[in-house]
Every structure is written in C-alpha cells, then in structure tokens.
C-alpha cells in the first residue's frame, strides 16, 4: 500500500472522528449512537495500520483482491447499522403514538376540569 494513500485515509478517519465529536458536543447525536461511528472509524484506522495483515487474511479467505473483502465488510456493517436504525425508528414511533394518545386524553380531562371551574 502506498504511503500517500495511507496518509490520505488516515486524514479521512481523523476528519470523521472530529465530525462525530462536534456533533456530540452540539447535542445532535446521543453518546449511545456515536459509539457505533467511533468504532467504525477505529476499525478503518486499525486496518490501515495493519494493512499487511489485512492483505494476508483476504488472501487466506480466498478473495480475489483485498479491496473486495474490505468492501464486503463495509457493506455488511452498513446493513447492520441500517437494520438497527429501522428497529429504533419503529420503537420510537410506538412511543410517539402512546404519548400522543395519553396527551389527547389528558387534554380532554384538563378542558373538562377548566369548564367545571368557570361554572
């Protein structure tokens, strides 16, 4: 692997990491989910550091090119993230529905109590 490529990818990793930290700082992402991205970045970084071993493993597993293995791993990881996000969205949707219903029922109750006070 050429040194220039390693440097370029390392800078990319660093950029991603800074982005994640900035987003957490501005409260636009909860710590829980940011861990996912930090792990992701570290995985890229580690495979950069040990790229010789990555090449070895990909050859051992029978991939035609190391990039194929890297893409496959990346693709599978992104699939997992999307899957988890879909389930999180569904659960949140259920919570929103429950909150909306409770709020509407309470709202009715408050109105009734209000009306009673004015009479």
């Amino acid at each position: 692997m050429k040194t220039s490529l390693i440097v370029f990818l390392s800078i990319l990793c660093l950029f991603l990491l800074i982005l994640v930290f900035l987003v957490i700082k501005k409260n636009k992402m909860s710590l829980k989910y940011s861990l996912l991205w930090i792990t992701f970045v570290f995985m890229i970084f580690i495979s950069l550091l040990f790229h010789n071993q990555v090449f070895y493993v990909s050859k051992f597993l029978g991939f035609e090119a190391p990039s194929n293995m890297v893409f496959l791993i990346g693709f599978v990881l992104l699939m997992i993230i999307t899957f988890v996000l879909t389930s999180i969205i569904s659960r949140q949707n259920e919570k929103i529905v429950a909150l909306t219903q409770e709020m509407a029922i309470l709202n009715k109750k408050v109105k009734e109590l209000d009306d009673r006070d004015y009479l």
Binding site: Q101, I105, N107
Partner: protein
C-alpha cells in the same frame, strides 16, 4: 348498571359526524348506560370545530395517528374511565346505529368480540367490487388457516368487545388496518368471537381509506400481519363453549 362506550374514529368527517353522533346518542339499552366518544384524528377540515359547536364528547389527537392509533385512543379512554364494553363505530356514516343493540346483547351473553358482518346471511346489499371481495376472501382464508374459524367480514370496523379485550387493545393495537390482525390475535389467545349480520350504508361523503393504488400494498401488509400474529400469538385461556 354496566357502562358501554361507543368509540367513533373520525378523520375529515365534518359532513358526516353530526348525523353519526346523533344516531348514536339516541341509543338506549336495558343492559347498560351508553356513552360515546369521538376521536378526531387530527382532521384537516372542521371536524373539531363541529364537535365543539355541538358540544359532542370528543378527544382531539394532536398528531394524525391513522385509524388504529385513533381507535386505540378510544380503548385507552374506555379503560381509564372503567367501561365494561366498547363498540367501534365509524364516523363516516357507513355503519347503522340500529345494529348496536344486537351487538350489546351478544356481549351480554358473554361473547368477547362481536363483529358486524356485511356478508353473513347476505342481508346487506352492500355493493363491493369483485377485486375487493376477492381480497376479503383471501383474508378470510388466511384467518381460517391460522385460527380454524370462518370470519366472513374480516375488515369490518363495526365491532364490540368486553372489558378483557378493552385491556388488551389498550395495551397493544396495530397502527394501520388493524381489524384482520386483531381478529387473529384474539382468536389465537382463545377468546370467543362471533359475527352478526348487519347492513352497511354506502359512504355518503368522503373517500374510503383504502384506494385502488394502495390495495395491493394493503393486502401484502395485512396478510403479513395475519401470518405473524397467527404464528406468534400464545394461547391465554381455554375456549369454553
């Protein structure tokens, strides 16, 4: 004296809601006190204003939840206010209030879920397209496969249930197109379900929530829901007949 709540879900029904509520208001029963509640599912028209002007008993949802979410709000309201029975009655004028009494007497006999069916005994001349009938027969077939019971009108939104099912529905109710799904859940759990013949009117105003473009999507989604409920629901009580 027992208490019955008629749940009237309404989405953009400013033209129908007055007639619907008035037809329900006059109902009296020897068995129970009859109340109603309109669930305004964040209508874009003046449904809420109509409810205020006529001093209807209504709940207004701050967000549009869809029919399942709206009806479930009614079940939660019934649970919190300790109603013994609940009846779903559409706000669009399709359902006829004179069939509420037969529903109540079935509930009094100890049935857990009563469904008003358009197709049992064929007393209704409700016109339905061939495609729609075909869709319904597929749903009936699926329900029969999983529960061994024939339900002639699985999508009917005219239904009544007792306290046990009010509790169940308040805690868990499917969001969209909930009727066939809940029938399977209830039957699988071992509750008693029967259908009684009712006549339904053609819609006066407004459009059905199921249009042609969505019907295939609807069929796939509901079939999947029936299959999942059919496989995953555990039996709760013994069927006593």
């Amino acid at each position: 004296m027992k208490k019955l709540l008629i749940i009237i879900p309404a989405y953009n029904e400013e033209k129908n809601i007055i007639d619907t509520v008035n037809s329900v208001k006059t109902i009296e029963s020897d068995y129970c006190i009859v109340d109603y509640v309109v669930i305004n599912d964040c209508s874009k028209d003046k449904t809420e204003q109509v409810c205020v002007d006529n001093s209807f008993n209504y709940i207004s949802l701050p967000l549009n939840l869809g029919i399942g979410g709206a009806v479930q709000t009614g079940y939660k309201y019934a649970l919190y206010n300790e109603y013994d029975y609940a009846i779903q009655f559409d706000g669009d004028g399709q359902h006829n209030a004179k069939y509420i009494e037969p529903l109540i007497s079935e509930l009094e006999k100890g049935v857990d879920l009563v469904i008003g069916s358009r197709f049992i005994n064929q007393i209704s001349e409700f016109k339905s397209t061939k495609l729609r009938r075909f869709g319904k027969s597929i749903l009936s077939f699926l329900i029969k496969v999983f529960t061994k019971k024939k339900i002639t009108d699985p999508t009917s939104g005219f239904r009544g249930c007792n306290r046990k099912l009010i509790e169940l529905f308040a805690s868990k109710y499917p969001i969209d197109y909930p009727e066939p799904d809940t029938i399977v859940t209830v039957l699988k759990k071992g509750y008693k379900v029967i259908e009684i013949p009712v006549k339904m009117n053609e819609r006066k105003n407004g459009v059905s929530s199921i249009n042609a473009f969505k019907s295939i999507y609807y069929m796939i989604k509901v079939s999947l829901a029936i299959i999942i409920s059919g496989i995953s629901t555990e039996k709760e009580k013994e069927y006593e007949d």
